[in-house]
């Protein structure tokens, strides 16, 4: 059994009277692709924000590579090898694609160990790895949505992270683009050995790629396990039945699987 890289223990986050994440515990193993799904407002992005340090949990602990990182600032976590992308893409619009990626390389776990020139060199390689090799001199603002998502991924990868948090990288992409992005993610895990946690709305995609899936509903964890198990879990189906369109997707998925 592979070792664990990240563990959340009884995480709670409240916003005023709303409990966005309620006593959620989980474990992510080194080198796996771990999916998190759930209806809108389930607390998925809040959970990510706690892992990357944007929010401090009200209760509970986060253990990364055996170390308690609950009280570290976001930039300190980034230097330990945690990288993320955002649901609403946040490239640096005025900087070029190359500069965007170089920032990732300079300030990640290699902070202080590489020069600006080396960072630009790494940025060039990563850009072609994600398929942006011919756009490196363009300002990020000039890219389309799909390219911006790739840029965010490249920026995260340039840091050489050990844990990569992907917040809805597939949302808004066409089916063809989703396939190519999934191929890229598999490549990232297989070639670079990066552990991936992904929050997704696109159910079918995450079912295909993730080894294990955790389901959140109103801030609570209601199920966890391999995709087949999740697809047949009565609690999960009940939750998604509350949302007819999602339920339909689920039924289709089950029909396809059996």
């Amino acid at each position: 059994m592979a070792g664990e890289i990240l563990r959340g223990e009884n995480l709670v986050k409240r916003f005023g009277g709303l409990v966005a994440v309620n006593e959620v515990s989980f474990e992510v193993k080194k080198g796996e692709i771990f999916g998190i799904i759930g209806p809108n407002g389930a607390g998925k992005t809040t959970l990510f924000n706690m892992i990357s340090g944007v929010y401090k949990p009200d209760e509970g602990r986060i253990i990364y590579e055996g170390r308690d990182i609950t009280n570290l600032k976001p930039h300190e976590r980034a230097r330990l090898g945690i990288a993320r992308t955002h649901q609403v893409v946040k490239p640096f619009p005025g900087l070029t694609v190359l500069e965007n990626i170089a920032v990732g390389a300079l300030f990640g776990p290699r902070y202080g160990k590489i020069s600006e020139d080396e960072a630009l060199e790494i940025a060039r390689e990563v850009a072609s790895f994600v398929g942006l090799g011919d756009k490196i001199e363009l300002p990020a603002a000039a890219l389309n949505v799909q390219e911006k998502k790739r840029l965010e991924l490249a920026r995260a990868l340039a840091a050489e992270p050990r844990l990569l948090l992907l917040d809805e990288v597939l949302a808004g992409l066409t089916p063809a683009e989703i396939d190519s992005m999934l191929g890229l993610l598999k490549k990232v895990r297989d070639e670079k050995g990066v552990t991936i946690m992904m929050v997704e709305h696109v159910m079918h995609a995450v079912m295909n790629i993730a080894e294990r899936i955790m389901v959140l509903h109103f801030g609570r964890k209601i199920a966890e396990g391999p995709p087949e198990e999740i697809a047949n879990n009565p609690d999960v189906i009940a939750v998604y039945l509350g949302d007819p369109s999602l339920a339909l997707k689920f039924v289709k998925r089950r029909g396809g699987a059996s």
Binding site: P74, H75, R79, H86, F92, E99, L106, E116, D117
Partner: protein, 323 residues
């Protein structure tokens, strides 16, 4: 190092050489008129680059940046009148004033930065204006307690125009090299990330608060240095004059006109400002704002990225050259 082969560095060296030649030629005496203009342009470039570190690179518009120039001038007064009260002018007097002016300005920025750099946008701008006024009225109060009604006129140091020139030149060289290094280094990358999206920068590993604090402190240090040759040249410390918001205005205009986020932008902006200022100079200097004001409004509406930024966008091939 690649950094030394880049256009920004080459431009800095060329500028330094040009002003060196003007300074040497000016020793002859018949070029004195040029010397005055050269000093002015060095100062305006220096002011622009000082503010650029926090405004143009990090994206925090400090509206009270004159406060640091004022502190530099104040510390010069302290050096001449209190620390070395009966000395004739020596290089060491200039150096003491420079260290004190830059040091106190940096210290104030560091202390105040802990508070004001937690604010964003307009709140930060307003806070810096507040700082400017606090120090201005503190200076007036201090002078009045000493029985002086401003301005404080310095004792006669028998300085020549040439010595003023070399003071400006010294600070000019330091400014260009330090600011270029800031822009081209990892620190500059981090500041650019903060300017573009502070939250994303933090998540990517940029220690945003420390970087902002360093940028604000360095920016103040450079502005503080510029208060020193200014005070020597005018042989007085006039709080209402050096702390004037109009000085902050000039720095902001230079950066806006030239273009944010570039090294050359503020320099180009400084020349444009100085050119306009002189060509518009009527009987009363303030009247030139009738032209400068609309210019800012038009630039913000039509070319918010400034002249250098606009050129970079229009001619992508120039991007590398217009660093």
């Amino acid at each position: 190092m690649r950094m030394l082969k880049r256009p920004g560095f080459i431009a800095s060296i060329v500028l330094i050489l040009i002003y060196l030649v003007i300074g040497i030629a000016g020793q002859e005496g018949h070029l004195l008129s040029i010397i005055g203009n050269a000093m002015d342009t060095m100062m305006y470039i220096g002011w622009a680059l000082a503010l650029a570190v926090i405004m143009s690179y990090a994206g925090y518009v400090s509206f009270g940046h004159a406060v640091f120039v004022g502190i530099g001038a104040w510390m010069t007064a302290v050096t001449i009148e209190s620390i070395m009260p009966s000395h004739p002018f020596t290089i060491s007097m200039f150096i003491v004033a420079l260290l004190l002016g830059a040091g106190v300005a940096a210290l104030v920025a560091y202390a105040v930065g802990w508070v004001v750099l937690r604010l964003r946008g307009a709140y930060f701008a307003i806070a810096t204006i507040g700082l400017d006024y606090v120090v201005l009225y503190l200076a007036i109060y201090t002078l009045s307690r000493a029985g002086i009604s401003p301005p404080l006129l310095f004792r006669n140091l028998s300085l020549t125009v040439q010595s003023f020139y070399w003071m400006h030149f010294t600070v000019f060289v330091i400014t260009l090299l330090v600011v270029y290094y800031i822009k081209a280094s990892r620190f500059g990358f981090g500041l650019a990330a903060i300017r573009e999206d502070e939250e994303a920068a933090e998540v990517m590993g940029v220690d945003t608060f420390k970087y902002k604090l360093m940028a604000f402190t360095l920016s103040a240090l450079i502005a503080g240095m510029w208060g020193v040759p200014l005070a020597f040249r005018h042989a007085k410390f006039d709080p209402q004059d050096v702390f004037s918001l109009l000085n902050s205005v000039i720095m902001i205009v230079e950066n806006t006109v030239g273009g944010l986020g570039t090294f050359l932008g503020p320099i180009v902006g400084a020349y444009i400002y100085y050119g306009l200022y002189w060509s518009l100079l009527t009987k009363i200097a303030q009247a030139s704002f009738v032209v400068l004001g609309p210019l800012i409004v038009i630039i913000i509406a039509l070319v918010p990225e400034g002249l250098v930024g606009w050129l970079r966008e229009k001619f992508p091939r120039l991007r590398k050259a217009l660093e």
